[in-house]
Symmetry: C2
Subunit: 399 residues, 2 copies
């Protein structure tokens, strides 16, 4: 093999291992083929698991024929595939050239193989392919690279075919690797979504026990995420990706402890007695008890436990003050208070949005942490369409 091919191979192999998108990989490989072997165009059929056939993934070339991507497919029992996979038919597993088909035609043109050979000829001609290189992973044919004319018009030599075979086998491994990483990433995304949806569904079902709080969990979660987004704009929150993930879970679960409060108290349509109030005020700690053996939930628990603390120390259950209150809890506390103020409750009807905002302004530094109140007021302080759009954008960026 020519030294220059070896360098190309090494360089490409080294790039390939860090590319984790199949399409990008295939483009890189075809670019390498076109540049190194100097062909007019090149393309690849890749086995598509879900369709159980081979489809053209990318076809590249500066001049000449362009194969329409995605539309063209080859069935597993077509002569081109069987040429490489069918033990009875296989003449060589390394490559198939148009010239070789011509030789086969001369030799077997009057035998039962005639039809197969004519179909092969038709296949290659259709794609203007002068050479096909199979790419195997163990015994599975993963794909077939096809190349058009060389720019100098000559036939492909041993050296080139050797280079292309090694490149094809490297490509298969890089594709397997990329496929694995893509699959793991997909699985993670699916699991994350399933987790949040399940937690959200269960939280809502528990919330439904409390007839006064329909939609509360969802709204508190949304307000919390918007507030956090604003805070993070001004001073970067440490380990932001994890913070926002924990905040979302904590907001969804902040009232989970209410499952431990009797329905009669939750739904009492009058003012609560001190004893009843004491029972309700246990809900943050009940929430912690429900969730506290989950190893990854230490921040989440801080949010659940302290979402009724007040900046001036007047809250519960721990009477934390000022900076003692974890940020995650301060954010949920404000979101929770705002939603409570703006919805009807057993003992009073809803405040208007303006009145609730005024209440938050007045309690900045008393009930609410100043930085959290500021972020809230920045997001919700003025009621106009532009703000709403901006909040929508913040939500999208943390989702």
């Amino acid at each position: 093999m020519k030294i220059s091919y070896r360098y190309d191979l090494e360089k490409t192999a080294r790039q390939m291992i860090l590319i984790h998108r199949a399409d990008t990989l295939i483009k890189l490989i075809l670019r390498t083929i076109i540049k190194s072997v100097k062909v007019r165009h090149a393309g690849v059929f890749i086995y598509d698991n879900s369709r159980d056939e081979y489809v053209v993934k990318v076809s590249r070339g500066h001049s000449g024929f362009k194969v329409p991507v995605g539309f063209v497919k080859i069935k597993k029992d077509s002569p081109l595939i069987r040429y490489f996979t069918d033990a009875k038919l296989s003449f060589s597993k390394e490559a198939l050239s148009l010239d070789q088909i011509k030789r086969l035609r001369a030799k077997f043109g009057k035998t039962p193989l005639k039809k197969t050979i004519e179909e092969l000829y038709f296949n290659l001609s259709f794609y203007k392919a002068k050479l096909c290189i199979p790419a195997f992973f163990r015994n599975d044919l993963i794909g077939i690279f096809f190349l058009g004319d060389k720019k100098n018009g000559r036939a492909f030599n041993r050296n080139e075919i050797g280079f292309l075979s090694v490149l094809a086998s490297d490509a298969v491994m890089a594709l397997k690797n990329a496929g694995l990483i893509e699959e793991l990433n997909n699985q993670l995304a699916i699991n994350n979504r399933m987790f949040l949806q399940t937690v959200s569904a269960l939280a809502s079902s528990i919330e439904a026990k409390d007839r006064y709080t329909s939609g509360h969990t969802e709204r508190v979660t949304e307000f919390s995420l918007v507030i956090a987004g604003r805070i993070n704009k001004h001073r970067k929150i440490k380990d932001w990706a994890k913070f926002i993930k924990d905040l979302r879970i904590a907001a969804l679960l902040h009232d989970i402890g209410k499952i431990g409060v009797p329905e009669a108290i939750l739904n009492k349509p009058a003012a609560l007695t001190p004893e009843e109030r004491a029972i309700i005020e246990k809900h943050p700690l009940i929430g912690v008890n429900i969730l506290n053996h989950i190893a990854e939930f230490s921040n989440v628990l801080a949010g659940v436990k302290h979402h009724h603390e007040r900046y001036n120390g007047g809250g519960y259950p721990s009477q934390l003050k000022g900076k003692q209150i974890p940020l995650i809890a301060s954010i949920i506390a404000l979101a929770d208070a705002y939603d409570a103020m703006t919805t009807d409750r057993p003992y009073r009807s809803a405040l208007s949005r303006e009145a609730a905002i005024k209440e938050i302004q007045e309690n900045r530094g008393r009930q609410f942490a100043p930085s959290v109140a500021d972020a809230f007021l920045e997001a919700y302080g003025q009621i106009d369409k532009e703000k709403e759009k901006e909040n929508g954008r913040v939500m999208a960026s943390v989702s």
Copy 2:
């Protein structure tokens, strides 16, 4: 570079991409080094993120010195690391040999660099290293390979150093790739555990509303998994990994709809009126309503919805019969019934284990699907220590 090195490089690179365990990769690379360059031993310092220093990962060689793995570490500010990373100090980034240190000593031995050079000499001597090859990813020093004497006693030549440098850079990429895959797999395992723990915690908290069913969810889940394991031993259940995952979630959530049943009915210490019974019997459908927008839950929903169907069509909510009842629901139905029989309920006290098993035998083919009843009886039918152990093994294999 010698042709044989190029072949070794290509072969190793091709193996590396499919290895996803860092330790296995490092062993492969050191094996390649020892075989190709014919050295007495070789090892590697790898940067350890959590410790922020370099540790010896593996040291290999048939003869001579063996470096104790894991114990030996080099700090980031040691001369050996700074030789490759400190712009002010760097003489060459490609390699560092003992001979080169001797030359440096002769040249700079009377300058302020003396101490650094002596420490370098000491470092290399300590590991019996004749040559060090750095491995960079972009500008980060990921590791340093070190090699002992060549078996033929000669010095390392340009060719060998070139080969080792390319191998080191390939190794770094393979390690990054393996690290990414390991991390994704870890993340998936953590997320799965967190998901199950959270669902389990929430399910238990909801169950706690029903004073008669403490621990019920957990036991039904365990019985269900053991039964499924037995069935799968006799006839392979299709898509087993997904089946067992769904079964676990469905068993945890089978009674989730009870959240929609008033506490007064759930905890009524007397027989229920027909109206009250009708309300309780809504719980499978309420469960479905809570969970039905979760895309991945189609099998889970079948389990939740139909866990009160009976094989003879006498159950609810859909009066399914025989093979119409999804397997996942038939398994939970039996596990649920057995646990209900063997625990105290408002209207009757618990049956003995023997009586409950007899009940299940008698209702095989009536209330319970025959194959599920058989699997249950196989697992729990005889009460002896061996059975318990066997069930423990089945549980472990499905967990």
